[in-house]
Amino acid sequence: MKIIHFQAHEANLIELASRSFFLHRTRDGAYVLIRARCPHRGGPLFLGRVIDEPVESIRCPWHDSVVPVHAMQKKTPAMVVNRTDCRVIVDDANGEGRVRWVRSLLNESANGAPCHAART
């Protein structure tokens, strides 16, 4: 096992050998890792939009599939965030792993303004 360290304001995409994960801040302020690709056809979920009802979900930008955030948290690596200090624990089989910052639309409202859960 190895630990990937990063700051929440410096990186939000974790790329492992098999798949990628996105650091998402939920409506209630919690940091969670979600799968970065849509389960339908692999669309980039971080470029989707968050919709609140009936449960917090993401609308994929490719085919408008709506996937609940809690479903996208299944089978994600163990992560702990202390204030903005993030540590993700991954299996060695996932290779070195890479973290980087990508632009996300998840925490922006439809008109492009940051919404209440935007990173601070």
Partner: protein, 464 residues
């Protein structure tokens, strides 16, 4: 009662606040909690001034981490610690005269326990929501990932903030005074060491319970008073001329120092947090080996041959064992038997313990920096911009209980002499014509050395 408290959690916030305010008034109305003319109260662990003249109530439901050095936090932590410590047995050592018997009866009064239960609901939400919100645990955790996470912590932990604080104390103009103030901040916790955690060795939850009991046995010195950890800390205090009776220096505790103590009381008293507690104790026992080394080094450096460091040496040794015992005999078995829910709570407790420890260190660092500045920096002898100073008068010997400055505040003595208290050894006496500006988040008390007229200059509110 329990049902009532349960319902209190569900009532709308303003209603809960009203109930809380009524409970606060009922709780603080006892004479042991009244303001006092004395800064310290030797041999009376029940005498605890709670409110002060700057406290006007709590104006929010939840503090942020940045609010923890506020005056409201000071009061909240004082009240909450007094509520929690109703669970512990304290007795004066030297005498048990009528005054102390009365204080004893008031402290353990049944009505005080009932109002304390009501108040604690509100105070725990006020104080600890921010710790909970600072930590996020997610994803798929198992024993393997936790072991990797724990090893990573052990390898990376350097206690940088504590080291910086120790360096700051050693380089003060009065390092002995700074180190004594540091000891006082730890006294509230260490003189009742392991009392909070003993709440978790009762009940019946299998072999893990007995493993925790082994840690408690060490903490209690195997039933030998001389080797009890709190006795070792009493020796540390006495070696530096400080009173070893719990809470003699109650008015000098910083809110963040009590906060650390209260956090452990909170998670140990609420048995739904027992897994969180296992994580917190693992963090503390693992880190304490290094932090005790760092503290002992400072003590030897500052106090010289009079430094009594057996307390720290004992922990440097035994906490290596405790860390291993908690990990191998408590955490791993409990995760294997109680699964991922337990593990997530353990990780949460581990991380929350780090947050609370950081607040403890930061609070002392801020106070120590200010105390040193009082000795070095004439720039503090000014008044803040304020069009409307408040004229005040105090009779000789009158003490305004210690409080936290929530914003910059100035004092100017017009006649007589006024003593400012910033630490166990740090007093600054101002005479007629003298002035001082105290920065935010500093603990201070004001005592009239003789009949005195003075002006208070609150900082002008900035326009939004």
């Amino acid at each position: 009662m329990t049902q009532f408290i349960r319902e209190l959690h569900g009532v709308p916030a303003p209603a809960a606040a009203l109930v809380g305010d009524a409970a606060l008034q009922a709780f603080v109305g006892r004479s042991i909690y009244a303001e006092s003319k004395d800064l310290i109260h030797p041999d009376n662990p029940f005498r605890r001034p709670l409110l002060n003249d700057a406290f006007t109530g709590w104006d929010c439901e939840e503090y942020t981490l940045d609010d923890l050095c506020s005056n409201g936090s000071l009061v909240a932590n004082r009240v909450l610690l007094s509520i929690y410590e109703q669970d512990f047995v304290f007795l004066p050592r030297a005498s048990f005269d009528a005054g102390k018997r009365s204080a004893f009866a008031e402290f353990y009064d049944r009505n005080a326990r009932v109002t304390g239960e009501i108040l604690s609901c509100r105070l725990e939400k006020l104080l600890f929501s921010c710790v909970s919100k600072a930590v996020h645990v997610s994803g798929d955790w198992d024993v393997k990932s936790f072991e990797a996470y724990f090893e990573d912590f052990k390898q990376r932990f350097r206690a940088e903030k504590l080291s910086h604080l120790m360096d700051s104390i050693a380089s003060m103009r009065d390092p002995v005074g700074g180190a004594r103030m540091f000891l006082v901040q730890m006294a509230g916790d260490f003189l009742v060491e392991s009392s909070a955690m003993t709440r978790n060795v009762v009940g019946n939850y299998g072999p893990v319970q007995s493993e925790l009991f082994k840690v408690v046995i060490d903490e209690c010195g195997y039933g030998v008073f001389k080797t009890k950890h709190s006795t070792l800390f009493e020796n540390v205090l006495q070696s530096q001329g400080l009173d070893p009776i719990p809470h003699t220096y109650w008015q000098l505790y910083l809110p963040t120092s009590m906060y650390l103590n209260n956090y452990y009381n909170c998670i140990c008293r609420d048995h739904a947090s027992v897994f969180r507690y296992f994580g917190a104790i693992l963090q503390v026992e693992t880190a304490f080996r290094l932090t005790c080394e760092i503290m002992a080094r400072m003590m030897k450096n500052v106090f010289g041959p009079s430094a009594h460091i057996e307390y720290f040496r004992e922990h440097t040794h035994i906490d290596d064992h405790h860390s291993r015992m908690v990990m191998d005999k408590i955490v791993v078995p409990i995760v294997e038997s109680h699964g991922e829910f337990a593990l997530r709570e353990i990780v949460r407790g581990f991380e929350e313990s780090l947050v609370v420890g950081d607040q403890f260190t930061a609070g002392i660092q801020h106070q120590i920096d200010w105390i040193d500045r009082v000795d070095r920096d004439d720039a503090i002898r000014r008044l803040p911009a304020c069009a409307q100073p408040r004229p005040m008068r105090a009779g000789s010997g009158e003490l305004c209980g210690t409080k936290m400055a929530d914003a910059e505040i100035g004092y100017q003595v017009m006649s007589g002499r006024l003593d400012f208290v910033f630490g166990v050894d740090k007093h600054l006496t101002l005479a007629a014509g003298d002035c001082i500006t105290i920065p935010p988040n500093v603990l201070y008390g004001v005592k009239a050395v003789e009949d005195c007229e003075y002006r208070v200059y609150p900082a002008e509110e900035k326009e939004a």
